[in-house]
Symmetry: none
Subunit: 200 residues, 4 copies
Amino acid sequence: MAKQPNPARRNERSRQAILTAARDLVSEVGYAKLTIEAIAARAGVGKQTIYRWWPSKGAVIFDAFLALSEAGPEQGIALPDTGDLEADLKMVMRATAAEFADPASEAPIRALNIEMINDPGLAAQYREKLADPVNEAKKARLRSAQRAGQLAADADLDLALELLYAPLYQRWLLRSGPLTPEYADTLVEVFLKAMRPEPA
Amino acid sequence: MAKQPNPARRNERSRQAILTAARDLVSEVGYAKLTIEAIAARAGVGKQTIYRWWPSKGAVIFDAFLALSEAGPEQGIALPDTGDLEADLKMVMRATAAEFADPASEAPIRALNIEMINDPGLAAQYREKLADPVNEAKKARLRSAQRAGQLAADADLDLALELLYAPLYQRWLLRSGPLTPEYADTLVEVFLKAMRPEPA
Amino acid sequence: MAKQPNPARRNERSRQAILTAARDLVSEVGYAKLTIEAIAARAGVGKQTIYRWWPSKGAVIFDAFLALSEAGPEQGIALPDTGDLEADLKMVMRATAAEFADPASEAPIRALNIEMINDPGLAAQYREKLADPVNEAKKARLRSAQRAGQLAADADLDLALELLYAPLYQRWLLRSGPLTPEYADTLVEVFLKAMRPEPA
Amino acid sequence: MAKQPNPARRNERSRQAILTAARDLVSEVGYAKLTIEAIAARAGVGKQTIYRWWPSKGAVIFDAFLALSEAGPEQGIALPDTGDLEADLKMVMRATAAEFADPASEAPIRALNIEMINDPGLAAQYREKLADPVNEAKKARLRSAQRAGQLAADADLDLALELLYAPLYQRWLLRSGPLTPEYADTLVEVFLKAMRPEPA
DNA sequence: GAGTAAGCGAGACGGTACGTCCGGTCTTTGT
DNA sequence: ACAAAGACCGGACGTACCGTCTCGCTTACTC
């Protein structure tokens, strides 16, 4: 049985330095060339301090992102609800497309995704900590649309999110096409066609 | 200037041994732990023989797959066309889902995808050599459906394929849900709703 | 300026535990693999408690031995003096040879010697605290022999001790020959030949 | 079973660079602070190249010395034989004392000795490759003295060498006294007294 | 007897070196 | 001339200890 470190004694300054160094280095050299040694050196930290608290390089990257997000709007993420579902969704999808297209976030997000593909545990953690809260907000907006009769009342909302986002995600991941605002709009339109209420 | 090896003198036996070893090792230890040295040792080949003919580990994996596919039906891939678009698509989608769900092909396909995510060039090559021919066959079937009035005549067929496959691909890649035949069916149904001809 | 710990407050129980642990570990794993961490762990003591009271690993080993010796006859070590110098010396030399040959004391004595070879200060301390008193007793016996006319009156007694003991020490240290009682006897005989009074 | 490297393919330039670096570093920083990494770096060599050919740090040091000696008078070491045993021995012993007293050779010889004390195998190798040939030459001189009636005919020559050299060795190793020419002379004189032929 | 300061067990920390593994290059020896 | 074999330099891996540094806790000594 491996000895467990005592989290109460953890040095918060070191933790922050490591996460920051990890983020910076992913942006600079890319995920494939990222090394624990380089993170430790950049953070001014002993390697053991990384190995003590994280089981893998992927876990460090993951925490680096988690820390970023938690620094954001702590609770209650809410999507715009103007009453016009199509307009609201287009706005959100365009924003997502723009974020993906931003070269600055390119490397780190890609790193995180590769790590999730390799490590199911990490992927589950990602969903729980980062994706689910956001998805819940999105589903809340869709439920509001269902109540307003703009969306089929019996629509599977998880499927709905997949329909909306998976094509965008795939294009970005495999670089199989441009992530333009027009493409975002098109996805929303097709989605609405698929999910609109039956004419009765 | 690097010296170019002469492909005419290439040892076909070594090439096959390398590709086979690469496939086997990816299945056994996973992509992340796959090493060139191990491939060379398993194939009974000098490391240089690998470096001489392939620029990267990803390229070897890619060729290993390409070789597999080319062993298949060399030309003229065609999808079933019974006249019933929904049934035909469900069959194809169920087959795709089953292939993804098969643990045997899990590791290698995942390896190939990670490599494509990291290496745009490889991704392009993949599309050109493997994906496009298959996609063309799929689009042929959809065009047939358009002519039969089962699909909107002005539908963007590339978008159509994304709509159909991206959710499946995303679920598999991130393990975010089960790849059941029912799910395959559902995707086809939603797709058809989104792409059906306007009632006029 | 380093803060000096107050010896009055020193925990005797910890001190003993450390010395005992050090002795045990030297026997078990040898000097080269002895670590401060292991001593602390074995003794159930914080590392700092060792660093507070000893300047080096060698100093701990040294004290471990000192403690052992001080447990013995506190003052007034005296060699047997039966009047027969040769018999008396042979007894003492055989005992020394036997002690060196004992596998139990092998590792720790070797450890102490290596430390002395590396650290002149420690060697001086060793001579002052452990070797000199013993040597003084030996020289007292030799002086008695000089008075009895069994040894040259002008013999250099320090040189005499070197002549007697150095060959034994060298054999033991470098394992260059067996440490038998016969060898001990031979050394005494040769020594007496070299140091006997001139016939004149 | 570990794979054995093929000595035929060994890079002689690397071997020399490693041995030279080892010698230099022992002189500069001492044996205790000598590291394999530093040797590799100084020699411009990968660490693996050291680990491939030597089992331990001590073995490297040992080879470094062996190489030095082998560069010397390849075969047939002979001591001076003027017919005057005392004068010849004093010359040799004074030279040995001077060599030990030389600060330049201090660190490396001490390193080698510590390593031999710790590693019986290394000590045996040392005797076989370095000490025995030299000792044989010394014994040859003593045999010549026996034939000339200057030394007891039945004297044990191995013991004789111990008697002569062990006190010197011990003084040097433990720094227990000065290594003056006078001391060397005294040792020879005492030795001759102990080993001279019986008056008959 | 309360307050305080030291030593204490514990163990996290910034580091250094370990010995191993592998990447990519170069050299030797067939064939 | 390519291939197998594998030594080479380089560099990251994950581990072990170093000696230092906080933590609370216990244990004297002081007031």
